[in-house]
């Protein structure tokens, strides 16, 4: 057996070992602890990365096709400054601002649409139609309209998160049981009171669903938009430029940045969700 094949076999053994370890952690007495809940996915990820390293080396995959994790890590450290600059440009300026504007606008719009039956009936189908629209396609148009800097990226993000948020919020506002609504009616509660005391709390699981979907969309939108014109910084810019320069290690370092940012963003929203919708059955068991 060649040296390369040995590495590949070793990778498979590592996989089995990692899985076995996780199985013990997950079913063992420690499974409920926080440490185990973090350790299991981390071990899973580490085995995947180790396998990647071994297989890339074992099969001698060219670095311009798929670089090894070790090379990516080295670039990540060496280029930390550039990566940070790209992160600020794409995530903070583009994605985050677009996310906030888009979600707030959708929320306000949902409340407005919800106010009158007529509007809701009109807007929901149109909103659903637009939500199914492959919004990435609007990126070239929005870049044309809003220029190449972060404003157009934010605009793409706004458009991308708007409809999922709108549809979720409207659906959430309607998700109350007959009895819960009847109770409010017996109190002679007004529209606003019913909204604040019943429908908004009841809508929270849906709203957070929309927010969570939007976090991943926001990042994708901001990056995609950079492919259609950008200043010379930003995650999307760097990725496309580095692919052209065959600097695949840099490409993957940027992907790591995006994944880290996205995961933290998602995690933050999920943590908030847990605090706000603690009462929902899916958070209780």
């Amino acid at each position: 057996m060649s040296g390369g094949m040995i590495l590949v076999v070793f990778a498979l053994i590592l996989w089995a070992a990692g899985w076995a370890l996780n199985a013990r952690l997950a079913h063992g007495p420690v499974s409920q602890t926080r440490a185990a809940q973090i350790a299991v996915p981390v071990i899973f990820g580490l085995t995947l990365i180790a396998m990647w390293e071994l297989i890339v080396r074992g099969l001698a995959v060219p670095g311009v096709i798929l670089p090894a994790p070790s090379a990516i890590a080295a670039t990540f450290v060496a280029q930390a400054g550039t990566l940070w600059e790209d992160f600020v440009q794409t995530f903070v300026k583009g994605a985050l601002s677009g996310f906030v504007i888009g979600c707030l606008a959708a929320f306000a719009f949902a409340i407005l649409a919800d106010r009158t039956e007529f509007l809701r009936r009109g807007i929901l189908p149109v909103g659903n139609f637009m939500a199914a629209l492959p919004i990435v396609g609007t990126a070239p148009i929005l870049v044309m309209w809003f220029g190449f800097d972060w404003h157009s990226k934010a605009a793409v993000v706004v458009v991308m998160v708007f409809f999922p948020m709108l549809v979720n919020t409207v659906a959430g506002l309607a998700d109350t049981s007959a009895m819960q609504r009847d109770l409010m009616r017996t109190y002679g509660a007004g529209y606003f009171q019913t909204l604040v005391k019943l429908r908004l709390p009841a809508a929270m699981p849906f709203i957070f669903n929309g927010l969570k979907i939007s976090t991943t969309l926001a990042l994708i939108g901001a990056i995609v938009a950079e492919f259609f014109g950008s200043p010379i910084r930003g995650v999307g810019f760097r990725i496309s430029t580095s692919v052209g320069q065959l600097a695949l290690d840099m490409v993957w370092a940027e992907i790591v940045v995006a994944a880290l940012a996205g995961t933290l963003f998602y995690g933050a929203v999920a943590a908030l969700e847990k605090r706000v919708t603690f009462w929902h059955p899916s958070h209780r068991h």
């Binding site: 096709i65 200043p231 810019f237 496309s240």
Partner: protein
């Protein structure tokens, strides 16, 4: 009898820039050489160097700067033919913005193509001593220009990159006349770099069978180019027929064919070593963070006349 298969990866979408290959295919020049050629169109995010490294193509069309950069990064590309004798890359500025000479650049916003096409631009800026981080008065703001000429038309940039055979025509189409525009041709500015050439992997060339295939391929392709130069209208029609997106217009492709013919006119397919050396020197004169194309002489083997010598006999 079985024909030899060849896969060609283009640098960009189907257009008259690659007319020679489509003509050779349609006119049966490849078939005459007993070749079955598959032409794969490229696109904005397809790096031909990466495709060939992954084994997805036998031969690619790319620019020399990108090929040399790939070579330094471990993809040993060899230039086997150079159908484009000169280059069509230029920087096009609007006179009304007040840019007439390179001295007017500082403080301006310039549109540049990246994805391996940025090397000539950075070499030029290095030569002019103009900063590219846009921070100070003496520098320029660089914007990554996408696929079209919008930044110029919409006033987001003072100058943009164009190819003589394509984007420049689009600017003219948009209603500007040649008098409204100033063109800086990279070749004339002394930072020209060789454009579309044919490249293969070094180790493939060691295989005599493969070499032989390439000889026939280059011969047929050059025949196609010459045919295209002589019959620009028919060539444009062939290109349009091969466009699967249905987006190309005959009018624009005819224009493009006319301009491209000017670039291929001086070439019989053989690489001029002086042009090669100029490209290398320019690249080496401007090594920087932004411009990491190559850091040392590519050395022997970055190009060869073996194929063209045999093909032209």
């Amino acid at each position: 009898q079985d024909m030899d298969e060849v896969t060609l990866q283009l640098k960009w979408v189907t257009q008259a820039q690659f007319a020679g290959y489509y003509v050779a295919e349609e006119q049966g020049f490849y078939e005459e050489e007993n070749l079955d050629v598959e032409i794969k169109p490229g696109g904005p995010d397809i790096a031909p160097e990466q495709v060939i490294a992954g084994g997805g193509a036998d031969v690619i069309v790319t620019w020399m700067a990108a090929a040399l950069a790939a070579r330094e990064r471990g993809v040993p590309l060899v230039n086997i033919a150079q159908p484009f004798a000169t280059g069509g890359l230029q920087l096009t500025c609007l006179k009304e913005t007040g840019v007439e000479t390179p001295e007017d650049f500082p403080g301006r916003t310039l549109g540049v193509w990246f994805f391996g096409n940025e090397y000539p631009f950075y070499a030029w800026m290095a030569q002019l001593g103009v900063g590219t981080d846009g921070a100070d008065e003496d520098g320029v703001t660089v914007l990554k220009q996408a696929f079209n000429v919008d930044p110029l038309l919409q006033g987001q940039a003072d100058c943009i990159s164009t190819m003589t055979y394509n984007e420049y025509g689009q600017v003219l189409d948009a209603g500007y006349t040649a008098d409204d525009l100033v063109n800086f041709n990279y070749l004339e500015e002394g930072v020209g770099m060789l454009e579309d050439g044919l490249y293969v992997l070094e180790e493939d060339l060691e295989d005599p069978e493969f070499s032989d295939k390439m000889v026939r391929f280059v011969r047929a392709s050059m025949k196609g180019w010459k045919w295209a130069e002589e019959n620009p209208e028919e060539a444009a029609q062939i290109v349009v027929d091969n466009d699967m997106t249905g987006a190309q217009t005959l009018e624009h492709q005819t224009y493009m064919m006319g301009e491209v013919a000017k670039l291929t006119a001086g070439s019989d397919g053989a690489l001029d070593p002086e042009d090669y050396q100029q490209t290398v020197d320019t690249l080496l004169s401007a090594i920087s963070e932004e411009n990491p194309a190559i850091t040392e002489e590519p050395g022997e083997g970055a190009w060869t006349h073996d194929i063209t010598d045999q093909a032209l006999n």
